[in-house]
Amino acid sequence: MSYFKKSGIIGYAGLVLLLIMNSVYAQPGFKMPTMPAVEQPPGDFASADEHYAFLLAQANGGTQHTIESLPQWTGLWSMGLNTTAEIFFEETDFFLTLGPGGTVREGVLTPAYEQQFRERRAEIDQYGEQLYDRLTNCEYPGVPRWIWEPYVKEFVHMPNQTWMMNDMMNETRRIYIGQEHKNIDGTHSSTGDSIGFWDGDKLVISTMYVNPADYARNMPLTSNQFSMVETWQQETDETGAQILVTQVTFYDPLALVEPQSAVYLHTYSAELEEAGLRVRNWECSTSSNSYKDENGSTMFYLPGDPEYKDPRGYTDFPDLPGQSKDPIFDAQ
């Protein structure tokens, strides 16, 4: 096992692998977090607006934090599990959202959206995966998918705004604290318009004016009438890990027969910080060479193709010293 000995991570990995071959849930060192119960809305609300207004009134207008009293969700946070599968499948297995299988739950989505979801799932069952994802061409995940994307996130709280930043495509949500919804844009956007208030250390958010999107790859589409109410709160789970618990209720009169709720987790990722990871600007449009081909599947441009974009190579000034975008590697 010569070269395995030189790879420091492998001895431990091998041991753990043997222990978990039969069940990812039952081996030392890897504890699947217990999912908190999904919180249903405290009433039947016709819209996210109505839901949010109720919560705001219940909190007596919300907690007026100062910069000193605001919760701080410092560091890098990674996506954890969520319960969205329980909404859209007969089976309550998160892993169905990652691949083939499962039975689409009838009557959750409106007929047109359910039909589309069934077609998507049929494709996944046939090919093992969704052939094309709209993110391939650098389209933003947007809301609600932003919550689910498996990259790292950072959070900055200020008395008048919260910034929720995703590594993926630099997609930042701005939550305007104590304000009303506004839309002077005359259109919708990927992250929409979000307002919020603090109820103690819990952040309550209302989001609307979002582009049509999806809950994730392999999952149903959302419409341009989608809106949602979220609550975010930092907690310590039973393993002692710091987690963010996000309770969400989705409103989408064009896609959902009635509002649906789910809970999402994020976990504080100290190991990434210890490894030196810092979030860098994501220049998707200049660094991605994947595209949708004539068969509706995903394909790459490769070096030598006229359409290929060298993510570190392009410059309008090749003869000028210091124009390389990869000085460290080039200097080796």
Binding site: I9, A13, G99, M168, R217, L277, R280, C284, F329
Partner: protein, 159 residues
């Protein structure tokens, strides 16, 4: 601190392996790769792009006619690469590497990295979840398919 990181890295490798047919960790599908087979490429690094949305390792290696060509291999995004112990400094220009990869279905000189053995025999895992990297690396090690294998050797990806 180091131990915590190693444990976390190991767990990520394992979870990625368990999800190896459940590819949510990239921003596109992997239909362009033939994941039923794994091919060995032995070449010299020409570029290592450790950037989003995916890292790419480019090497110079002979094609099936013996002519030197550029081969390109997709890997994980930086955040997932770091979890697997890979950074932007993992590969150096001119370094000889052995890449085990799922080839493109269309036959072009490209593929999805499963694992890469460096010149110093260190095994690295820069790939996305296109294979069960740890188990595959162990299988190839057991059979000496990297050390004694020839450029363009191919084996089934089935365990």
């Amino acid at each position: 601190m180091k131990q915590t990181h190693l444990k976390a890295t190991a767990i990520v490798l394992l979870v990625v392996g368990l999800f190896s047919t459940n590819l949510l960790f990239a921003h596109h599908s992997f239909q362009m790769f033939d994941r039923t087979q794994l091919v060995l490429i032995k070449g010299s690094v020409t570029d290592w792009n450790f950037n989003n949305p995916h890292s790419w390792l480019h090497v110079e290696a002979p094609d099936s006619n013996g002519e030197l060509q550029t081969w390109s291999f997709e890997g994980a995004s930086p955040v997932h690469g770091v979890r697997q112990g890979v950074t932007g400094n993992t590969f150096r220009k001119g370094e000889l590497v052995s890449i085990v990869m799922s080839p493109m279905k269309d036959g072009r000189n490209a593929g999805a990295m499963c694992f890469v053995v460096k010149e110093n025999e260190e095994v690295t895992f820069p790939g996305d979840a296109t294979c069960n990297a740890y188990m595959v690396a162990q299988q190839w090690e057991t059979n000496s398919w990297v050390k004694e294998g020839a450029h363009l050797d191919s084996h089934s990806s089935a365990p």
